[in-house]
């Protein structure tokens, strides 16, 4: 929409007629000459006359245009654009959203992206019209406004900008834009200064911000190349003293080049290096294998060589080593029956008191399970036949959901009741990924076989290579027909030829549950006589304890650490101290008590190990790592943000590629400089044309005068 500031000056448009009037008034009166060689003159001069007439009109047009442009320029016209529905000089209401997530700490050309964003935001603040009110929002895991509301005190905003630093948090653009919307009461302009990482911005939908106008200013034309550690997986997650531990480190290459990186492991005296080759924009895994001889919680870290974004080059983890794994085996089989499944399971887990498997087994009849055993166990084995009481099922469910493990053997008529009881006690959170239909028995001669081992890249080592863990040669004489839940088929680790699930591993709250749908008693299979059986059981136990969980807390978000309940020497069982990586003590609040005590902590600002001690002894270590999404520094295709499907209103979102665009965006386009330039151009062209045409005449005139003189 077009507008003028000084509309009264438009009266001056009447002066447009001046050049025409002057042209006709100052035109020389022709002298009438009766000329003998008129016909020769006509022959010679007609074409020239047409050219002259054209030149005259051109000059007249240039003069008229120049006058018109000057008059219009003085009227100070402007063009309103979407997001700039104000007059020039009018005060504005804007919010500046500055991306302060971890990726903005990347350095390009010696200056961090955040510093660039900060400088550009400051430039914009300086360019605001008098009386404008503005706000600044720093985007992190939780948006932070420099001032709670818009303010005309831009000096304060400048100070906040100057003192701000990029965080180690992940970015939440939707939250930041929502805060900006709140500050603007749903109407106004938002300027966003960011690297527009695709992992953060890819899911932003502008249709939630109907009345707003957005100006996006990328602080870097393309994403900064980066390599970082994005994930760590330990197997097992809670090893036993002396148990072999595998730590797999995933590294992501967010550059366009192939990279060869060396990952360094540092953990309580264990230092290892591993080289990893990374393809462009791909991840790779390096694995470290070691064992820890003593129990305890051991903090460790994996690191890469420094690059332009160092904060994701180190990732922290801990390895909580148990002295032993307490297991509770519940079965109604006769304790002395050497042909029972429970006997074989117990023997496989703990062959003898002299065998140091790290696993202790407590066996109870289902009706005699005591609370102490239930509360003490780290893992539960339910081996059919077993008819568990309701309170037992509830306790087991609670414990598993709280992080314990469950292995449930579904052989015999009691299996459906066990499955149903667990499902009911856990509100469906502990259940196999299949429905038990009916028991079937195989002919002795034919036998039933595992139809094929499917690991799905899963944690069971015994299934890694068919020649090591090939269960095809085993025969099972009965099992339950199952109907696998389609959405949970990934949890099924092995199947019978008829498609029924034979083995499954399911998450259950903070714990996990394995359901075994084949008999382990000698009368049901030849598994127990096979040396595969003990390793299978132990691998199942290892699989249950494989986890990467516990390292998922990131800076900027509230988090907690669980510690085992205990009594301090002073008698205050909850007196725990939490010390951050920088040695600062952090205030922790107890939010839950039980077998474990949950300590709620304020959002962490730095990644690292947060050591919890009680009575001077370390009882746990909390881990804060940067969000892995921040490692992928690839920039979003910003024009994709302008997709009509994403933007409900034309002109709602603009991308500002230059500093000039940044300052002029959101403002009506002032036309007077262009008009003044047009006037100058017209006058210049007029003078130039006249000079050229008159010069030619002068040459001719000079030649004539010379001719006469001769």
């Amino acid at each position: 929409m077009f507008g003028v500031t000084n509309s009264w000056i438009l009266v001056g448009l009447a002066a447009v007629g001046l050049p025409v009037l002057i042209h006709f008034l100052t035109r020389a009166r022709p002298r009438v000459i009766r000329y003998p060689t008129y016909h020769l003159l006509i022959e010679a001069g007609r074409g020239r006359q047409a050219v002259h007439r054209l030149r005259t009109w051109v000059i007249l047009a240039l003069r008229t245009l120049a006058v018109m442009a000057l008059v219009l320029a003085f009227s100070r016209p402007f063009l309103k654009t979407p997001g700039a529905d104000i007059e020039p000089g009018q005060a504005r209401r804007v919010v500046l959203v500055v991306d302060a997530s971890m990726s903005m700490r990347a350095v390009a050309g010696g200056i961090s992206l955040f510093a660039k964003a900060r400088a550009q935001a400051a430039d914009l603040l300086r360019s605001l019209e008098e009386g404008s009110s503005a706000g600044v929002v720093f985007m992190g895991a939780t948006p932070r406004a420099a001032l709670p509301a818009l303010s005309r005190n831009l000096a304060v905003l400048h100070e906040e900008l100057a003192s701000a630093e990029a965080t180690l948090e992940k970015g939440d653009p939707m939250a930041a834009l929502a805060l900006a919307q709140t500050m603007l009461d749903g109407q106004g302009a938002v300027y966003v200064f960011s690297d527009f990482q695709r992992t953060n911005w890819g899911s932003v939908a502008f249709d939630s911000f109907a009345g707003m106008t957005f100006f996006l200013r990328p602080v870097t034309p393309v994403g900064i190349g980066n390599v970082g550690i994005v994930a760590i997986e330990k197997s097992p997650g809670e090893p036993i003293e002396g148990e072999t531990i595998d730590v797999a480190c995933t590294v992501f290459n967010a550059t366009a080049d192939k990279r060869l990186e060396t990952v360094h492991l540092d953990l309580e005296g264990v230092t290892q290096n591993a080289d990893i080759e990374l393809q462009p924009y791909s991840s790779g895994t390096a694995t470290f294998t070691f064992s820890l001889p003593t129990a305890g919680c051991f903090p460790g870290r994996l690191s890469l060589a420094p690059d332009d974004l160092n904060d994701d080059n180190t990732r922290y983890f801990k390895v909580p080593v148990r002295r032993a794994l307490e297991t509770l085996l519940v079965s109604d089989a006769d304790r002395d029956d050497p042909a029972s499944a429970a006997f074989f399971v117990e023997t496989a887990l703990c062959p003898s008191e002299y065998a140091d498997t790290g696993i202790t087994v407590t066996r109870r009849h289902s009706q005699e399970v005591d609370r102490a055993s239930l509360e003490r166990a780290d893992a539960f084995f339910i081996v059919a036949p077993a008819r568990l009481r309701g309170d037992t099922l509830e306790t087991i469910s609670r414990r598993v959901l709280d992080g314990a493990y469950l292995v449930c053997f579904l052989d015999g008529p009691t299996a459906p009741a066990v499955v149903g009881g667990l499902r009911g006690a856990s509100s469906g959170m502990i259940s196999p990924p299949f429905q038990l239909e009916r028991a079937v028995a195989a002919e002795r001669a034919g036998g039933e076989f595992f139809s094929g081992v499917r690991t799905a890249g899963g944690p069971l080592k015994v299934f890694d290579a068919p020649d090591q863990g090939d269960l095809m040669g085993l025969s099972f004489r009965r099992h339950y027909l199952t109907d696998v839940v389609p959405t949970r088929k990934e949890e099924v680790l092995a199947r019978f030829p008829d498609g029924s699930a034979a083995l499954s591993l399911s998450p259950a709250g903070r714990g996990a549950a394995i359901f075994v749908n084949f008999p382990v008693a000698p009368d049901g299979s030849d598994l127990v006589g096979n040396p595969l059986f003990p390793s299978l059981l132990h691998e199942l136990m290892r699989a249950l304890r494989t986890s990467g969980a516990g390292d998922a807390d990131t800076p900027g978000t509230r988090w907690h650490i669980d510690v085992a309940a205990g009594q301090s020497p002073e008698g205050d069982e909850d007196a725990c101290n939490v010390v951050g990586p920088d040695g600062q003590e952090i205030e922790a609040v107890v939010v839950a008590r039980g077998r474990t005590v949950r300590l709620a902590l304020p959002p962490a600002s730095v990644p690292g190990h947060y050591r919890v001690s009680r009575g001077g002894a370390q009882v746990n270590v909390g881990i804060i790592n940067v969000d892995a999404k921040e490692t992928d520094t690839r920039q979003l295709n910003i024009t994709g943000l302008l997709d009509a499907a994403n933007v409900p209103r034309a002109g709602m979102v603009s991308v500002l590629d230059t500093e000039g665009q940044l300052i002029s965006a959101g403002r009506p386009t002032r036309l007077w400089p262009h008009l003044a330039a047009l006037a100058a151009l017209c006058l210049g062209a007029e003078m130039l044309l006249l000079a050229v045409w008159r010069r030619r005449r002068g040459l001719v005139l000079g030649a004539r005068l010379e001719g006469r003189a001769q």
Binding site: R27, A28, R29, P30, R31, V32, I33, R34, Y35, P36, T37, Y38, H39, L40, L41, I42, E43, A44, G45, R46, R48, Q49, H52, R697, V700, L701, R704
Partner: protein, 302 residues
């Protein structure tokens, strides 16, 4: 010799032409015995040649001195001397009335009349005959060739009454002149030759085929060679016509100059092709001096 008191004839200035004679190229065909060569040979005062005597010749023409030397009989031959006939044709059309716009001189007609009077005086003073024809779109005055001074006076008076008017049809008028003349002589045409009709050249061809000696005097004003030096002009035709052309002369000067030069070249080339003498007379030059130069040049070409 009589005196003539007329603006068109300055006898004092004519002094510079006293040694100038209008000599025809080729031979004259006059009536009387005059100083010009005649193609006819017979009793005459000027020895021409010898011829061997044959039976029947007039013995009075035998050159006895030659006989005494050679012992042979030869006749003396003499060339008959006859007087010049000059036909002056003057263009009095409207275009001849141009005297300039910014640079005023005498009219082309006045200048041509002065040339005509001077030429007529030269012819009569030699005892030759001169006639005068005045033309525009028709032959509106024709004076037969005479050789006496009163005839000259009449001619000059006629010139004095002449006005520049009407259109030009020089070709048709020359045809008319040709029909009226009875004897060959020298045709002198004084005009600006702005008549684009091809009849002009056809008539020239007639005269030349009839062995007339043709002299063309093209009268131009300096402002016809270069456009008038005025800032803005509305040019109109001089011989009627409603058209006009508004322009700044400066704009078209160069193009016009080239066009006019081409026009003069055409006239000159046409003249040369037909064996006519062509002279360009500017009205800002002295007519007597001009004539002197013309005749000297003509003499050098003989």
């Amino acid at each position: 010799m009589p005196t003539f008191d007329h603006p068109y004839l300055d006898l004092t200035r004519m002094e510079m032409l006293k040694r100038v004679r209008l000599k025809p190229r080729g031979v004259a065909e006059g009536t009387f015995a005059g100083p010009h060569k005649s193609q006819y040979r017979g009793t005459a005062v000027e020895f021409a040649d010898y011829r061997e005597y044959v039976e029947g010749d007039d013995v009075r023409q035998v050159d006895w001195k030659v006989y005494a030397r050679t012992d042979r009989y030869y006749l003396r031959l003499y060339e008959a001397e006859r007087n010049l006939l000059a036909y002056l044709v003057l263009d009095t059309s409207g275009s001849m009335g141009f005297a300039g716009a910014a640079r005023i001189t005498e009219r082309k007609l006045d200048y041509a009349c002065r040339l005509t009077a001077a030429l007529a005086y030269l012819v009569v003073s030699e005892g030759d005959e001169v006639g005068l024809s005045l033309t525009d779109e028709r032959l509106h005055e024709h004076m037969a060739a005479r050789s006496n001074w009163s005839h000259l006076g009449t001619m000059i008076a006629t010139l004095g009454r002449t006005k520049a008017k009407g259109r030009t049809d020089l070709g048709r008028c020359l045809m008319e002149v040709y029909r009226r003349v009875t004897r060959r002589g020298v045709l002198i045409v004084l005009s600006d030759f702005l008549d684009p009709s091809p009849d002009v050249w056809k008539s020239m061809d007639l005269f030349r085929r009839s062995k007339f000696d043709v002299m063309l005097f093209q009268i131009v004003h300096p402002e016809e060679l270069e456009l008038p030096d005025v800032p803005m002009a509305r040019f109109r035709e001089t011989e009627g016509g409603s058209g006009h052309f508004n322009t700044e002369p400066e704009l078209v000067r160069e193009l016009y100059r080239k066009r006019f030069a081409a026009f003069l070249s055409e006239i000159e080339a046409g003249s040369k092709t037909r064996g006519c003498d062509w002279y360009l007379a500017r009205t800002d030059t002295d007519p007597y001096l001009f004539l002197k130069h013309c005749f000297l040049a003509r003499e050098s070409r003989r």
